[in-house]
């Protein structure tokens, strides 16, 4: 592909959604109304096709192509361009983002059909896609930060989409605040990068990575990772994501499962050259990722809201991805990112379909027995669920396995990460099965809702089927054979990886994790289908543990009482300081001016002649001064 074609395609990819946003936000409300959905979907289709064109056009190419649009900032040596880095990593992300977004846009045309904010929804959603594409295509940290903040803004707007209700407002604010903390970290990291390397472009920074001191590099990476924990909902900043489920379900699927929350993983993978040299930073990433994976999975076990189960599951899966980056397997992490985008988007859209069918009911305690009513939803969600539970040969199995296996092969105590990862896999299978069973099987627990349930329209089920195909096959297509599949060869030139692949050991490890998955499924089936053991009795027997999980390890409460409380005290104190000192000073100053003004006003006689005389006196003075200076020479 020649440079001009690449340039045109790389410009179309982000600009198509931006154009859709511009059209819809200006004309949507009064003129276009329900046309906005079509416009946005068409723009996304164009964008997705252009991204595919870039993939096909750059397949044989190993170096990154830089598409510079214009110089954004040029102050001395500080030069920032608006330019895109088209390499394997960004192309993969572009594909995932555009295609999943396209399917979700189509789905939303059905899901949001009766909402009075239809045009608003189809304005923010393409805007989000635009910022997400800027984030993944940027060739420097500052442009990436622009996308980073932009997706945060759109996330805020879309979580609070139903802003008439208090809960979405609160959730949107929480998401925004939590993300601010992370963004602060990212910003500090970016500033440190500039101070250290004198540039923000990826290729410059990574080329000069050797000149930084090790401690400084560690600090940079930890700050960047703090940003990633905010955006990708990791400990300690993960609590906003479950609350973000207050937004419309397609938003949860697109932003809070498939794309935006993976930005942190992408950024960490993109910064691998920094992290690799940064001493303990990668270990921190791995530990945080693993801890988040376990914590979120345990909380997901006891949630009753179908979307919150999915939310905690997302947090947990993101933890896996960070584990992958942390143990030095960014390819596996990106692979899991791609497959997860498929099956998690599918699960969210499926649960959206269920919620749609039940007229807004999200509580699984009111569901049950919906399988005959919602056959397409059921079968597609089953595929998605099994993919999430990492049952071979579905997508999740290959990618997740590769992450935990990478930990195992690393050795040196990293086997513990593998063990925790596999255990968490069993937990994942358990809560997935629990969710599927409570929703679709058993006797209907709410007769009224059950009677009125109906399968979703074609516009919603078609994306479900498309995503189900992806969730079923993506792992095999992209990742077979293990460690040498298409995705590995494609991303291979970007990352270092182990040369030798030990298939016999992989087979053993894969069997272990598959058995763990099946075990989790089976246990959940026994518990919820056969009631042996009876779930209520289990809850009573392990009452302290159950309470701990239901209260989400008390972390939300801890943040509310201690952290937020401390800040409230701080704010109160600064307010008092403001009143006493800053306002006091300003008031005194103002009083001084008042007295001065009262006396000086006598100079204003109101007689024009006096003013003219003053001017002439000034002229005289200047003339005299000039003559004096000239004559003195």
């Amino acid at each position: 592909m020649d440079d001009t074609t690449l340039r045109v395609l790389a410009t179309i990819v982000p600009l198509a959604p931006l154009a859709a946003f511009a059209i819809n936000v200006f004309f949507g409300r009064w003129r276009l109304q329900h046309l906005t959905g079509l416009i946005a979907s068409a723009a996304l289709a164009i964008s997705a096709l252009a991204a595919t064109g870039i993939l096909l056009g750059t397949l044989g190419r190993h170096d990154a192509a830089i598409v510079m649009l214009y110089r954004w900032i040029g102050v001395g040596t500080f030069q920032i361009d608006v330019s895109f880095q088209i390499d394997q990593l960004s192309t993969l992300m572009m594909l995932v983002v555009t295609w999943i977004s396209f399917l979700i846009h189509v789905y939303s045309m059905g899901y949001m059909h009766d909402d009075h904010g239809y045009w608003r929804f189809f304005s923010w959603l393409p805007l989000f896609v635009f910022f997400m594409l800027v984030l993944v295509m940027a060739d420097n940290y500052l442009l990436m930060f622009v996308g980073w903040e932009g997706v945060g803004l759109c996330s805020y707007l879309l979580i609070g989409f139903w802003f008439e209700k208090p809960a979405p407002q609160a959730a949107a604010n929480k998401a925004f605040w939590m993300n601010r903390i992370g963004d602060w970290g990212f910003m500090v990291g970016v500033i440190l990068i500039f101070l250290t390397f004198g540039s923000l472009a990826f290729r410059d920074v990574f080329a000069k990575v050797g000149i930084a001191q090790s401690e400084l590099l560690t600090a940079i990476c930890l700050f960047l990772f703090l940003g990633a924990t905010g955006k990708s909902a990791q400990i300690p900043l993960y609590t906003w994501l479950p609350d973000a489920m207050e937004g419309p379900t397609p938003v949860s699927a697109l932003i809070h499962a498939a794309t935006m929350v993976t930005a942190g993983v992408y950024m960490t993978a993109r910064s691998t050259p920094l992290f690799a040299e940064a001493g303990p930073a990668l270990l921190v990433v791995a530990v945080i990722g693993t801890a988040t994976a376990v914590l979120a999975a345990t909380i997901a076990l006891v949630q009753t809201d179908i979307k919150r189960v999915m939310a905690y599951s997302t947090v947990s899966q993101l933890g896996y991805m960070f584990l992958g980056v942390g143990v030095g397997a960014p390819i596996a992490a990106m692979f899991h990112l791609a497959t997860h985008a498929f099956f998690k988007a599918l699960l969210f859209l499926g649960s959206g379909s269920v919620i749609h069918a039940l007229g807004g009911q999200q509580d699984m305690r009111h569901m049950g027995g919906l399988k005959p009513k919602l056959p397409i939803t059921y079968w597609t969600m089953l595929i998605g669920g099994l993919a999430l539970a990492a049952i071979p040969p579905l997508a999740g199995f290959w990618s997740k396995d590769e992450i935990v296996n990478s930990a195992f092969f690393r050795g040196q105590g990293y086997e513990w990460f593998w063990a925790i990862g596999v255990t968490t896999g069993a937990l994942t299978a358990f809560y997935t099965m629990r969710m599927l069973w409570l929703t679709f099987h058993g006797a209907p627990r709410d007769r009224h809702l059950y009677e009125h349930a109906h399968e979703s329209p074609r516009v919603m089920t078609t994306p479900l089927i498309a995503l189900a195909v992806g969730a079923a096959l993506a792992g095999l297509v992209l990742g077979w054979p293990p460690d040498a599949g298409w995705v590995h060869q494609y991303l291979g030139p970007l990352f270092e990886r182990a040369e030798a692949i030990d298939y016999s050991r992989i087979a053993v490890l894969a069997t272990i994790s598959a058995v763990a998955g099946v075990l989790g499924l089976g246990l959940a089936w026994l518990t919820y289908a056969r009631r042996r053991p009876d779930p209520e009795r289990v809850a009573r027997t392990f009452a302290p543990l159950y309470t701990l999980l239901v209260n989400k390890w008390y972390l939300d409460a801890f943040y509310d009482h201690n952290v937020a409380g401390a800040f409230r005290w701080l704010f109160g104190a600064s307010w008092a300081f403001d009143l006493a000192f800053i306002d006091g000073f300003v008031n005194k100053l103002a009083a001084g001016f008042q007295i001065g003004g009262r006396n000086l006003r006598r100079l204003q006689t109101g007689i024009v002649g006096n003013y003219a005389l003053t001017i002439v006196l000034g002229l005289l003075f200047v003339g005299a001064a000039y003559a004096y200076l000239r004559l003195r020479q």
Partner: protein
């Protein structure tokens, strides 16, 4: 021939200065206005003497024609006020008269001290062409801006004198 130009200069300068003094000193405002026109006319002569025929032409057109007439209209509209009692504050009048000759002497002294005594050179062919070239080529943009200024002044003048309801 050498004495003719200085002679013309002296006559024109006398007209200009006398006209200016009359503007300030004549008690009746209509007298002031007419003396101002006379002074402007003399100034046009001085411009011509300098070889700036175009400027002289504009001087007659704009100052002697337009501005003098405009001022006369202003006099007409505000009425000819009788000379009232002098009620200036802060010795305004005395200060004014005292300062001006002082300053005048200072400037003339400075001018001659700086030796501006070389003669003014007159170029053949008039000044219309170089002036037109300068205004419409080198200073085309300021020229356009000046037209905007005139438009603004026009609108401003109308807005200022417009009565509330007509």
């Amino acid at each position: 021939m050498d004495f003719i130009a200085p002679l013309i200069f002296v006559i024109l300068a006398a007209i200009v200065v006398a006209g200016g003094l009359a503007v300030v000193l004549l008690p009746r405002i209509t007298g002031s206005a007419l003396s101002m026109g006379l002074s402007f006319l003399g100034m046009a002569g001085l411009f011509a003497l300098l070889g700036a025929e175009t400027i002289a032409f504009f001087q007659v057109l704009i100052y002697v024609g337009a501005i003098t007439v405009l001022i006369l209209y202003g006099v007409m509209l505000t009425g000819v006020a009788p000379a009232g009692a002098d009620r200036r504050l802060f010795f305004q009048k005395q200060a004014g008269w005292a300062l001006v000759p002082l300053k005048f002497v200072g400037v003339v002294a400075t001018v001659f001290a700086l030796s501006f005594q070389s003669n003014v050179v007159q170029q053949p062919g008039g000044d219309l062409e170089p002036l037109a070239n300068a205004v419409f080529r080198d200073y085309a943009f300021p020229f356009e801006v000046a037209s905007v200024l005139l438009l603004a002044a026009m609108i401003g003048a109308i807005a200022l004198v417009k009565r509330g309801d007509d």
